[in-house]
Subunit: 244 residues, 2 copies
DNA sequence: CCAAGTCATATGTCAGACGTTTAATTGTCT
DNA sequence: AGACAATTAAACGTCTGACATATGACTTGG
Protein backbone atom coordinates (compact mmCIF):
# COMPACT_ATOMS: atom_id res chain seq x y z
CA UNK A 1 0.00 0.00 0.00
CA UNK A 2 1.47 3.26 -1.13
CA UNK A 3 0.19 6.78 -1.67
CA UNK A 4 0.97 9.59 -4.01
CA UNK A 5 3.93 11.43 -2.47
CA UNK A 6 3.62 14.37 -4.85
CA UNK A 7 0.35 15.56 -3.41
CA UNK A 8 1.49 17.76 -0.61
CA UNK A 9 -1.61 18.00 1.54
CA UNK A 10 -4.35 15.90 3.05
CA UNK A 11 -2.10 12.92 3.54
CA UNK A 12 -4.44 11.48 6.15
CA UNK A 13 -7.32 11.56 3.68
CA UNK A 14 -5.22 9.75 1.08
CA UNK A 15 -4.19 7.10 3.57
CA UNK A 16 -7.77 6.66 4.74
CA UNK A 17 -8.88 6.24 1.14
CA UNK A 18 -6.13 3.73 0.48
CA UNK A 19 -7.13 1.57 3.43
CA UNK A 20 -10.84 2.00 2.73
CA UNK A 21 -10.34 0.81 -0.83
CA UNK A 22 -8.47 -2.23 0.44
CA UNK A 23 -11.36 -3.05 2.75
CA UNK A 24 -14.02 -2.56 0.11
CA UNK A 25 -12.04 -4.63 -2.38
CA UNK A 26 -11.73 -7.41 0.16
CA UNK A 27 -7.94 -7.26 0.38
CA UNK A 28 -8.46 -6.70 4.08
CA UNK A 29 -11.15 -9.17 5.14
CA UNK A 30 -13.43 -8.71 8.12
CA UNK A 31 -11.67 -9.30 11.41
CA UNK A 32 -8.22 -8.80 9.88
CA UNK A 33 -5.82 -6.83 12.03
CA UNK A 34 -4.16 -3.87 10.38
CA UNK A 35 -0.48 -3.25 10.98
CA UNK A 36 0.27 -1.22 14.07
CA UNK A 37 0.20 2.55 13.81
CA UNK A 38 3.99 2.72 13.81
CA UNK A 39 4.24 0.15 11.02
CA UNK A 40 1.63 1.94 8.97
CA UNK A 41 3.49 5.18 9.50
CA UNK A 42 6.62 3.55 8.17
CA UNK A 43 4.82 1.93 5.20
CA UNK A 44 3.20 5.18 4.11
CA UNK A 45 6.29 7.20 5.02
CA UNK A 46 4.38 9.57 7.26
CA UNK A 47 4.30 10.24 10.97
CA UNK A 48 2.16 8.41 13.44
CA UNK A 49 -0.26 11.28 14.14
CA UNK A 50 -1.05 11.38 10.42
CA UNK A 51 -1.77 7.66 10.41
CA UNK A 52 -3.93 8.12 13.48
CA UNK A 53 -5.99 10.81 11.79
CA UNK A 54 -6.57 8.44 8.90
CA UNK A 55 -7.63 5.65 11.26
CA UNK A 56 -10.02 7.99 13.06
CA UNK A 57 -11.65 8.79 9.75
CA UNK A 58 -12.24 5.10 9.15
CA UNK A 59 -13.43 4.60 12.72
CA UNK A 60 -16.00 7.36 12.21
CA UNK A 61 -17.45 5.31 9.37
CA UNK A 62 -17.44 2.16 11.51
CA UNK A 63 -15.04 0.54 9.04
CA UNK A 64 -12.52 -0.34 11.72
CA UNK A 65 -12.53 -0.74 15.46
CA UNK A 66 -9.51 -0.35 17.72
CA UNK A 67 -8.40 -2.27 20.76
CA UNK A 68 -5.79 -1.29 23.26
CA UNK A 69 -3.33 -3.57 24.93
CA UNK A 70 -0.81 -6.17 23.95
CA UNK A 71 -2.84 -7.87 21.22
CA UNK A 72 -4.58 -4.63 20.35
CA UNK A 73 -4.62 -2.68 17.16
CA UNK A 74 -7.06 -1.72 14.44
CA UNK A 75 -9.33 -4.44 13.12
CA UNK A 76 -11.57 -4.43 10.09
CA UNK A 77 -15.02 -4.16 11.55
CA UNK A 78 -18.02 -6.17 10.43
CA UNK A 79 -20.56 -3.50 9.63
CA UNK A 80 -23.70 -4.55 11.47
CA UNK A 81 -27.22 -3.51 10.65
CA UNK A 82 -27.60 -1.39 13.80
CA UNK A 83 -24.40 0.51 12.99
CA UNK A 84 -25.39 1.08 9.40
CA UNK A 85 -28.81 2.06 10.60
CA UNK A 86 -27.44 4.65 12.99
CA UNK A 87 -25.26 6.15 10.26
CA UNK A 88 -28.22 6.18 7.92
CA UNK A 89 -30.31 8.13 10.42
CA UNK A 90 -27.74 10.83 11.11
CA UNK A 91 -26.98 11.27 7.43
CA UNK A 92 -30.62 11.40 6.41
CA UNK A 93 -31.55 13.70 9.27
CA UNK A 94 -28.84 16.18 8.37
CA UNK A 95 -29.66 15.93 4.70
CA UNK A 96 -33.27 16.81 5.39
CA UNK A 97 -32.59 19.56 7.89
CA UNK A 98 -29.86 21.24 5.88
CA UNK A 99 -31.42 21.24 2.46
CA UNK A 100 -34.82 22.76 2.97
CA UNK A 101 -36.50 19.57 1.85
CA UNK A 102 -40.14 20.44 1.51
CA UNK A 103 -42.56 18.61 3.67
CA UNK A 104 -44.48 17.12 0.76
CA UNK A 105 -41.27 15.73 -0.72
CA UNK A 106 -40.23 14.05 2.51
CA UNK A 107 -43.73 12.81 3.18
CA UNK A 108 -44.13 11.43 -0.31
CA UNK A 109 -40.84 9.57 -0.09
CA UNK A 110 -41.60 8.20 3.33
CA UNK A 111 -44.95 6.73 2.38
CA UNK A 112 -43.77 5.51 -1.00
CA UNK A 113 -41.03 3.56 0.76
CA UNK A 114 -43.30 2.27 3.44
CA UNK A 115 -45.93 1.12 0.98
CA UNK A 116 -43.16 -0.75 -0.86
CA UNK A 117 -42.96 -3.26 1.93
CA UNK A 118 -46.69 -3.53 2.60
CA UNK A 119 -47.17 -6.61 0.37
CA UNK A 120 -44.25 -8.42 1.96
CA UNK A 121 -45.39 -7.43 5.44
CA UNK A 122 -48.90 -8.71 4.79
CA UNK A 123 -47.46 -12.00 3.63
CA UNK A 124 -44.93 -12.56 6.36
CA UNK A 125 -46.02 -10.70 9.48
CA UNK A 126 -45.71 -12.76 12.64
CA UNK A 127 -47.72 -12.48 15.82
CA UNK A 128 -44.84 -10.63 17.45
CA UNK A 129 -45.21 -7.71 15.08
CA UNK A 130 -48.97 -7.63 15.46
CA UNK A 131 -48.63 -7.63 19.24
CA UNK A 132 -46.19 -4.72 19.06
CA UNK A 133 -48.46 -2.72 16.81
CA UNK A 134 -51.52 -3.36 18.94
CA UNK A 135 -49.63 -2.41 22.08
CA UNK A 136 -48.56 0.86 20.50
CA UNK A 137 -52.12 1.58 19.44
CA UNK A 138 -53.27 1.09 23.03
CA UNK A 139 -50.60 3.50 24.17
CA UNK A 140 -51.54 6.03 21.53
CA UNK A 141 -55.13 6.07 22.77
CA UNK A 142 -54.04 7.33 26.17
CA UNK A 143 -55.04 11.02 26.21
CA UNK A 144 -52.38 11.78 28.82
CA UNK A 145 -49.60 10.77 26.49
CA UNK A 146 -47.22 13.64 25.76
CA UNK A 147 -46.63 14.66 22.16
CA UNK A 148 -43.07 13.35 22.31
CA UNK A 149 -44.20 9.98 23.61
CA UNK A 150 -46.87 9.81 20.93
CA UNK A 151 -44.19 10.40 18.30
CA UNK A 152 -41.95 7.72 19.74
CA UNK A 153 -44.85 5.30 19.76
CA UNK A 154 -45.63 6.21 16.17
CA UNK A 155 -42.06 5.37 15.18
CA UNK A 156 -42.22 2.04 17.01
CA UNK A 157 -45.48 1.24 15.25
CA UNK A 158 -44.12 1.94 11.79
CA UNK A 159 -40.87 0.22 12.61
CA UNK A 160 -42.81 -2.94 13.44
CA UNK A 161 -44.68 -2.60 10.17
CA UNK A 162 -41.41 -2.41 8.26
CA UNK A 163 -39.89 -5.28 10.20
CA UNK A 164 -42.92 -7.40 9.37
CA UNK A 165 -41.57 -7.65 5.83
CA UNK A 166 -38.77 -9.77 7.32
CA UNK A 167 -36.17 -8.39 4.97
CA UNK A 168 -33.22 -6.91 6.87
CA UNK A 169 -32.10 -4.87 3.89
CA UNK A 170 -35.51 -3.27 3.59
CA UNK A 171 -35.66 -2.70 7.35
CA UNK A 172 -32.31 -0.99 7.32
CA UNK A 173 -33.21 1.24 4.40
CA UNK A 174 -36.71 2.11 5.42
CA UNK A 175 -36.43 2.37 9.14
CA UNK A 176 -33.59 4.81 8.68
CA UNK A 177 -35.61 6.92 6.31
CA UNK A 178 -38.74 6.83 8.42
CA UNK A 179 -36.92 7.71 11.61
CA UNK A 180 -35.01 10.52 9.97
CA UNK A 181 -38.19 12.04 8.56
CA UNK A 182 -40.29 11.64 11.66
CA UNK A 183 -39.00 14.73 13.50
CA UNK A 184 -39.66 16.86 10.46
CA UNK A 185 -43.13 15.45 10.08
CA UNK A 186 -43.93 15.84 13.74
CA UNK A 187 -42.68 19.38 13.90
CA UNK A 188 -45.03 20.32 11.15
CA UNK A 189 -48.10 18.32 12.05
CA UNK A 190 -48.00 18.78 15.80
CA UNK A 191 -50.41 21.70 16.01
CA UNK A 192 -53.11 20.22 13.83
CA UNK A 193 -52.83 16.49 14.30
CA UNK A 194 -55.83 14.57 15.39
CA UNK A 195 -54.73 11.55 17.34
CA UNK A 196 -58.08 9.80 16.98
CA UNK A 197 -57.85 9.80 13.20
CA UNK A 198 -54.30 8.54 13.22
CA UNK A 199 -55.10 5.79 15.70
CA UNK A 200 -58.08 4.75 13.57
CA UNK A 201 -55.82 4.41 10.54
CA UNK A 202 -53.26 2.51 12.60
CA UNK A 203 -56.02 0.12 13.63
CA UNK A 204 -57.10 -0.34 10.04
CA UNK A 205 -53.53 -1.08 8.98
CA UNK A 206 -53.05 -3.56 11.79
CA UNK A 207 -56.32 -5.27 10.95
CA UNK A 208 -55.33 -5.58 7.30
CA UNK A 209 -51.99 -7.04 8.31
CA UNK A 210 -53.69 -9.49 10.65
CA UNK A 211 -55.88 -10.63 7.77
CA UNK A 212 -52.83 -10.78 5.50
CA UNK A 213 -54.62 -8.25 3.31
CA UNK A 214 -51.90 -6.51 1.30
CA UNK A 215 -54.29 -4.24 -0.54
CA UNK A 216 -55.94 -3.16 2.69
CA UNK A 217 -52.59 -2.42 4.27
CA UNK A 218 -51.58 -0.37 1.25
CA UNK A 219 -54.87 1.49 1.33
CA UNK A 220 -54.40 2.29 5.00
CA UNK A 221 -50.95 3.68 4.37
CA UNK A 222 -52.25 5.65 1.41
CA UNK A 223 -54.98 7.13 3.59
CA UNK A 224 -52.39 8.01 6.21
CA UNK A 225 -50.31 9.70 3.53
CA UNK A 226 -53.28 11.72 2.31
CA UNK A 227 -54.28 12.70 5.83
CA UNK A 228 -50.73 13.81 6.58
CA UNK A 229 -50.69 16.01 3.52
CA UNK A 230 -54.02 17.51 4.53
CA UNK A 231 -52.58 18.28 7.91
CA UNK A 232 -49.61 19.95 6.28
CA UNK A 233 -51.90 22.09 4.15
CA UNK A 234 -53.83 23.15 7.25
CA UNK A 235 -50.67 24.03 9.11
CA UNK A 236 -49.21 25.98 6.22
CA UNK A 237 -52.47 27.87 5.73
CA UNK A 238 -52.54 28.74 9.41
CA UNK A 239 -48.96 29.93 9.27
CA UNK A 240 -49.64 32.05 6.23
CA UNK A 241 -52.61 33.62 8.01
CA UNK A 242 -50.48 34.30 11.05
CA UNK A 243 -47.78 35.95 8.99
CA UNK A 244 -50.28 38.35 7.49
CA UNK B 1 -19.10 22.93 25.12
CA UNK B 2 -17.54 20.62 27.66
CA UNK B 3 -16.88 16.92 27.94
CA UNK B 4 -16.77 14.40 30.71
CA UNK B 5 -13.28 14.64 32.19
CA UNK B 6 -13.69 11.46 34.21
CA UNK B 7 -13.75 9.20 31.18
CA UNK B 8 -10.10 8.62 30.57
CA UNK B 9 -10.12 7.32 27.05
CA UNK B 10 -11.54 8.06 23.63
CA UNK B 11 -11.43 11.79 24.20
CA UNK B 12 -11.51 12.46 20.48
CA UNK B 13 -14.71 10.43 20.13
CA UNK B 14 -16.31 12.39 22.95
CA UNK B 15 -15.31 15.69 21.42
CA UNK B 16 -16.55 14.61 18.01
CA UNK B 17 -19.86 13.60 19.53
CA UNK B 18 -20.14 16.91 21.33
CA UNK B 19 -19.59 18.91 18.17
CA UNK B 20 -21.79 16.60 16.11
CA UNK B 21 -24.63 17.05 18.58
CA UNK B 22 -24.24 20.80 18.33
CA UNK B 23 -24.48 20.60 14.57
CA UNK B 24 -27.48 18.28 14.58
CA UNK B 25 -29.22 20.44 17.17
CA UNK B 26 -28.62 23.51 15.02
CA UNK B 27 -26.46 25.29 17.58
CA UNK B 28 -23.81 25.41 14.86
CA UNK B 29 -25.64 26.41 11.68
CA UNK B 30 -24.48 25.56 8.19
CA UNK B 31 -21.53 27.65 7.11
CA UNK B 32 -20.59 28.57 10.65
CA UNK B 33 -16.89 28.55 11.39
CA UNK B 34 -15.79 26.48 14.36
CA UNK B 35 -13.18 27.90 16.73
CA UNK B 36 -9.61 27.23 15.66
CA UNK B 37 -8.00 23.96 16.68
CA UNK B 38 -6.00 25.68 19.39
CA UNK B 39 -9.09 27.35 20.81
CA UNK B 40 -11.02 24.08 20.75
CA UNK B 41 -8.10 22.38 22.48
CA UNK B 42 -8.26 24.98 25.21
CA UNK B 43 -12.04 24.78 25.54
CA UNK B 44 -12.07 21.01 25.85
CA UNK B 45 -8.85 21.01 27.89
CA UNK B 46 -7.07 18.61 25.56
CA UNK B 47 -4.16 18.85 23.17
CA UNK B 48 -4.42 19.94 19.56
CA UNK B 49 -3.81 16.46 18.07
CA UNK B 50 -6.77 15.15 20.03
CA UNK B 51 -8.95 17.94 18.68
CA UNK B 52 -7.67 17.21 15.20
CA UNK B 53 -8.63 13.56 15.48
CA UNK B 54 -12.12 14.61 16.48
CA UNK B 55 -12.34 16.98 13.52
CA UNK B 56 -11.15 14.28 11.14
CA UNK B 57 -13.92 12.04 12.38
CA UNK B 58 -16.45 14.72 11.53
CA UNK B 59 -14.79 15.38 8.20
CA UNK B 60 -15.11 11.68 7.34
CA UNK B 61 -18.87 12.04 7.75
CA UNK B 62 -18.88 15.18 5.61
CA UNK B 63 -20.19 17.15 8.58
CA UNK B 64 -17.42 19.73 8.37
CA UNK B 65 -14.96 20.91 5.77
CA UNK B 66 -11.62 22.54 6.50
CA UNK B 67 -9.77 25.37 4.83
CA UNK B 68 -6.18 26.30 5.29
CA UNK B 69 -4.82 29.78 5.43
CA UNK B 70 -5.46 32.99 7.31
CA UNK B 71 -9.26 32.91 7.23
CA UNK B 72 -9.30 29.15 7.24
CA UNK B 73 -10.64 26.75 9.78
CA UNK B 74 -13.36 24.17 10.09
CA UNK B 75 -16.78 25.07 8.74
CA UNK B 76 -20.06 23.29 9.16
CA UNK B 77 -20.68 21.69 5.81
CA UNK B 78 -24.00 21.65 4.01
CA UNK B 79 -24.58 17.98 3.35
CA UNK B 80 -25.40 17.72 -0.32
CA UNK B 81 -27.29 14.93 -2.04
CA UNK B 82 -24.21 13.69 -3.94
CA UNK B 83 -22.20 13.47 -0.73
CA UNK B 84 -24.96 11.67 1.14
CA UNK B 85 -25.41 9.45 -1.87
CA UNK B 86 -21.75 8.48 -1.92
CA UNK B 87 -21.82 7.67 1.77
CA UNK B 88 -24.96 5.66 1.28
CA UNK B 89 -23.33 3.57 -1.41
CA UNK B 90 -20.21 2.71 0.54
CA UNK B 91 -22.21 1.88 3.64
CA UNK B 92 -24.74 -0.25 1.79
CA UNK B 93 -22.04 -2.00 -0.25
CA UNK B 94 -20.09 -2.95 2.83
CA UNK B 95 -23.21 -3.99 4.67
CA UNK B 96 -24.14 -6.36 1.87
CA UNK B 97 -20.66 -7.77 1.28
CA UNK B 98 -19.87 -8.27 4.97
CA UNK B 99 -23.09 -9.82 6.16
CA UNK B 100 -23.73 -12.68 3.81
CA UNK B 101 -26.94 -11.11 2.65
CA UNK B 102 -28.63 -13.73 0.53
CA UNK B 103 -29.24 -12.92 -3.05
CA UNK B 104 -33.00 -13.25 -2.77
CA UNK B 105 -33.07 -10.85 0.17
CA UNK B 106 -31.09 -8.19 -1.68
CA UNK B 107 -33.02 -8.73 -4.87
CA UNK B 108 -36.36 -8.55 -3.12
CA UNK B 109 -35.43 -5.33 -1.37
CA UNK B 110 -34.11 -3.77 -4.52
CA UNK B 111 -37.23 -4.38 -6.58
CA UNK B 112 -39.58 -3.55 -3.73
CA UNK B 113 -37.88 -0.16 -3.44
CA UNK B 114 -37.81 0.40 -7.15
CA UNK B 115 -41.46 -0.47 -7.55
CA UNK B 116 -42.22 2.02 -4.81
CA UNK B 117 -41.41 4.88 -7.11
CA UNK B 118 -43.02 3.43 -10.23
CA UNK B 119 -46.33 5.28 -9.75
CA UNK B 120 -44.60 8.61 -9.22
CA UNK B 121 -42.26 7.99 -12.12
CA UNK B 122 -45.15 7.20 -14.45
CA UNK B 123 -46.84 10.40 -13.41
CA UNK B 124 -43.89 12.75 -13.61
CA UNK B 125 -41.35 11.35 -16.03
CA UNK B 126 -39.97 13.94 -18.43
CA UNK B 127 -38.66 13.44 -21.93
CA UNK B 128 -35.11 13.65 -20.61
CA UNK B 129 -35.53 10.49 -18.58
CA UNK B 130 -37.18 8.66 -21.49
CA UNK B 131 -34.33 9.68 -23.78
CA UNK B 132 -31.78 8.40 -21.29
CA UNK B 133 -33.55 5.10 -20.90
CA UNK B 134 -33.95 4.59 -24.63
CA UNK B 135 -30.30 5.43 -25.22
CA UNK B 136 -29.25 2.84 -22.67
CA UNK B 137 -31.50 0.26 -24.29
CA UNK B 138 -29.80 0.90 -27.61
CA UNK B 139 -26.44 0.46 -25.97
CA UNK B 140 -27.53 -2.72 -24.24
CA UNK B 141 -28.52 -4.26 -27.60
CA UNK B 142 -24.94 -4.01 -28.84
CA UNK B 143 -23.63 -7.60 -28.73
CA UNK B 144 -20.04 -6.36 -28.47
CA UNK B 145 -20.73 -4.65 -25.18
CA UNK B 146 -18.62 -6.06 -22.35
CA UNK B 147 -20.33 -7.45 -19.29
CA UNK B 148 -19.02 -4.57 -17.21
CA UNK B 149 -20.36 -1.98 -19.64
CA UNK B 150 -23.71 -3.76 -19.73
CA UNK B 151 -23.85 -3.53 -15.94
CA UNK B 152 -23.02 0.16 -15.96
CA UNK B 153 -25.68 0.77 -18.56
CA UNK B 154 -28.16 -1.17 -16.48
CA UNK B 155 -27.42 1.05 -13.50
CA UNK B 156 -27.86 4.18 -15.59
CA UNK B 157 -31.17 2.87 -16.87
CA UNK B 158 -32.55 2.16 -13.43
CA UNK B 159 -31.13 5.39 -12.09
CA UNK B 160 -33.11 7.29 -14.73
CA UNK B 161 -36.20 5.34 -13.74
CA UNK B 162 -35.75 6.36 -10.13
CA UNK B 163 -35.01 9.96 -11.03
CA UNK B 164 -38.20 10.07 -13.05
CA UNK B 165 -40.12 10.16 -9.78
CA UNK B 166 -38.68 13.65 -9.31
CA UNK B 167 -38.29 13.25 -5.61
CA UNK B 168 -34.71 13.90 -4.48
CA UNK B 169 -35.20 12.05 -1.20
CA UNK B 170 -36.39 8.96 -3.04
CA UNK B 171 -33.57 9.27 -5.54
CA UNK B 172 -31.02 9.50 -2.79
CA UNK B 173 -32.42 6.51 -0.95
CA UNK B 174 -33.09 4.27 -3.90
CA UNK B 175 -30.20 5.03 -6.17
CA UNK B 176 -27.85 4.30 -3.30
CA UNK B 177 -29.52 0.98 -2.63
CA UNK B 178 -29.71 -0.01 -6.27
CA UNK B 179 -26.11 0.85 -6.95
CA UNK B 180 -24.90 -0.94 -3.87
CA UNK B 181 -26.78 -4.09 -4.78
CA UNK B 182 -25.90 -4.14 -8.44
CA UNK B 183 -22.41 -5.65 -8.08
CA UNK B 184 -23.84 -8.48 -6.00
CA UNK B 185 -26.60 -9.09 -8.51
CA UNK B 186 -24.26 -8.99 -11.46
CA UNK B 187 -21.78 -11.32 -9.89
CA UNK B 188 -24.47 -13.92 -9.47
CA UNK B 189 -26.41 -13.50 -12.69
CA UNK B 190 -23.48 -13.03 -15.03
CA UNK B 191 -23.14 -16.61 -16.21
CA UNK B 192 -26.80 -17.19 -16.98
CA UNK B 193 -28.16 -13.83 -17.93
CA UNK B 194 -29.92 -13.44 -21.20
CA UNK B 195 -29.46 -9.90 -22.42
CA UNK B 196 -32.28 -10.15 -24.92
CA UNK B 197 -34.81 -10.90 -22.21
CA UNK B 198 -33.56 -8.08 -20.01
CA UNK B 199 -33.60 -5.61 -22.86
CA UNK B 200 -37.13 -6.67 -23.75
CA UNK B 201 -38.25 -5.95 -20.20
CA UNK B 202 -36.43 -2.63 -20.23
CA UNK B 203 -38.31 -1.74 -23.40
CA UNK B 204 -41.61 -2.70 -21.82
CA UNK B 205 -40.87 -0.56 -18.77
CA UNK B 206 -39.86 2.40 -20.91
CA UNK B 207 -43.00 2.03 -23.03
CA UNK B 208 -45.18 1.97 -19.94
CA UNK B 209 -43.46 5.06 -18.60
CA UNK B 210 -43.91 6.81 -21.93
CA UNK B 211 -47.62 6.05 -21.78
CA UNK B 212 -47.71 7.15 -18.14
CA UNK B 213 -48.92 3.67 -17.34
CA UNK B 214 -48.07 3.09 -13.68
CA UNK B 215 -49.48 -0.43 -13.59
CA UNK B 216 -47.54 -1.40 -16.69
CA UNK B 217 -44.34 -0.04 -15.25
CA UNK B 218 -44.93 -1.92 -12.03
CA UNK B 219 -45.67 -5.09 -13.98
CA UNK B 220 -42.46 -4.72 -15.96
CA UNK B 221 -40.43 -4.34 -12.78
CA UNK B 222 -42.21 -7.29 -11.25
CA UNK B 223 -41.37 -9.38 -14.31
CA UNK B 224 -37.76 -8.27 -14.07
CA UNK B 225 -37.72 -9.28 -10.41
CA UNK B 226 -39.13 -12.70 -11.20
CA UNK B 227 -36.70 -13.22 -14.06
CA UNK B 228 -33.80 -12.25 -11.83
CA UNK B 229 -34.86 -14.76 -9.22
CA UNK B 230 -35.14 -17.44 -11.90
CA UNK B 231 -31.62 -16.62 -13.00
CA UNK B 232 -30.42 -16.94 -9.44
CA UNK B 233 -32.07 -20.35 -9.14
CA UNK B 234 -30.37 -21.48 -12.33
CA UNK B 235 -27.00 -20.28 -11.16
CA UNK B 236 -27.33 -21.85 -7.75
CA UNK B 237 -28.47 -25.14 -9.28
CA UNK B 238 -25.47 -25.12 -11.63
CA UNK B 239 -23.14 -24.43 -8.74
CA UNK B 240 -24.64 -27.21 -6.70
CA UNK B 241 -24.17 -29.60 -9.64
CA UNK B 242 -20.56 -28.47 -10.01
CA UNK B 243 -19.83 -29.02 -6.36
CA UNK B 244 -21.00 -32.63 -6.59
C1' DC C 1 -5.43 54.49 -6.81
C1' DC C 2 -3.41 50.23 -7.81
C1' DA C 3 0.00 46.57 -7.43
C1' DA C 4 3.50 43.97 -5.20
C1' DG C 5 5.50 42.42 -1.10
C1' DT C 6 5.12 41.32 3.81
C1' DC C 7 2.76 39.50 7.77
C1' DA C 8 -0.41 37.11 10.68
C1' DT C 9 -3.26 33.21 11.18
C1' DA C 10 -4.66 28.60 10.91
C1' DT C 11 -4.24 24.16 9.18
C1' DG C 12 -0.96 20.16 7.89
C1' DT C 13 2.81 17.50 9.43
C1' DC C 14 6.55 15.84 12.12
C1' DA C 15 9.49 14.03 16.13
C1' DG C 16 9.78 12.34 20.53
C1' DA C 17 7.99 11.26 24.83
C1' DC C 18 5.01 9.40 28.56
C1' DG C 19 0.87 7.06 30.37
C1' DT C 20 -2.44 3.22 30.15
C1' DT C 21 -4.36 -1.02 28.84
C1' DT C 22 -3.96 -5.73 27.97
C1' DA C 23 -2.20 -10.25 27.20
C1' DA C 24 1.61 -13.30 27.28
C1' DT C 25 5.48 -14.74 29.79
C1' DT C 26 7.98 -15.79 33.64
C1' DG C 27 8.70 -17.02 38.32
C1' DT C 28 7.41 -18.74 42.69
C1' DC C 29 4.80 -21.22 45.96
C1' DT C 30 1.98 -25.07 47.30
C1' DA D 1 3.32 -30.54 38.41
C1' DG D 2 0.01 -27.16 38.58
C1' DA D 3 -1.92 -22.79 39.90
C1' DC D 4 -1.47 -18.19 41.03
C1' DA D 5 1.03 -13.81 41.11
C1' DA D 6 4.45 -10.53 39.29
C1' DT D 7 6.86 -8.91 35.35
C1' DT D 8 7.26 -7.56 30.74
C1' DA D 9 6.26 -6.15 26.18
C1' DA D 10 3.27 -4.42 22.64
C1' DA D 11 0.06 -1.29 21.21
C1' DC D 12 -3.01 2.49 21.58
C1' DG D 13 -4.15 7.25 23.73
C1' DT D 14 -2.39 11.62 24.70
C1' DC D 15 0.80 15.54 25.25
C1' DT D 16 4.42 19.03 24.09
C1' DG D 17 6.71 21.68 20.93
C1' DA D 18 8.11 22.71 16.62
C1' DC D 19 8.25 23.60 11.63
C1' DA D 20 6.04 23.86 6.97
C1' DT D 21 2.56 25.70 4.06
C1' DA D 22 -1.43 28.08 2.36
C1' DT D 23 -4.07 32.20 2.19
C1' DG D 24 -6.30 36.41 3.21
C1' DA D 25 -5.20 41.04 5.01
C1' DC D 26 -2.28 44.68 5.63
C1' DT D 27 1.35 47.73 4.31
C1' DT D 28 4.14 50.13 1.21
C1' DG D 29 5.91 51.91 -3.01
C1' DG D 30 4.92 53.43 -7.65
Amino acid sequence: MQIDPSNTSDLSAQIAKSIRDAIVAGTLPVGERLPSESELAEQFAVSRPTVREALKRLAAQALIRTQRGATGGAFVNRLTYPEAHAQQITTATLLLSMNDVSFVTACEARYALERACAPLAAQRRTDAQLVTMQAEIVRQRDPDLTDEAFCASDITFHRALVDAAHNPVLSYQLAGAVEAMQPLMNMITYPARSRARIVALHRAITAALTARDAAGCDAGLAALAIYTEELADTVFAARAAQDR
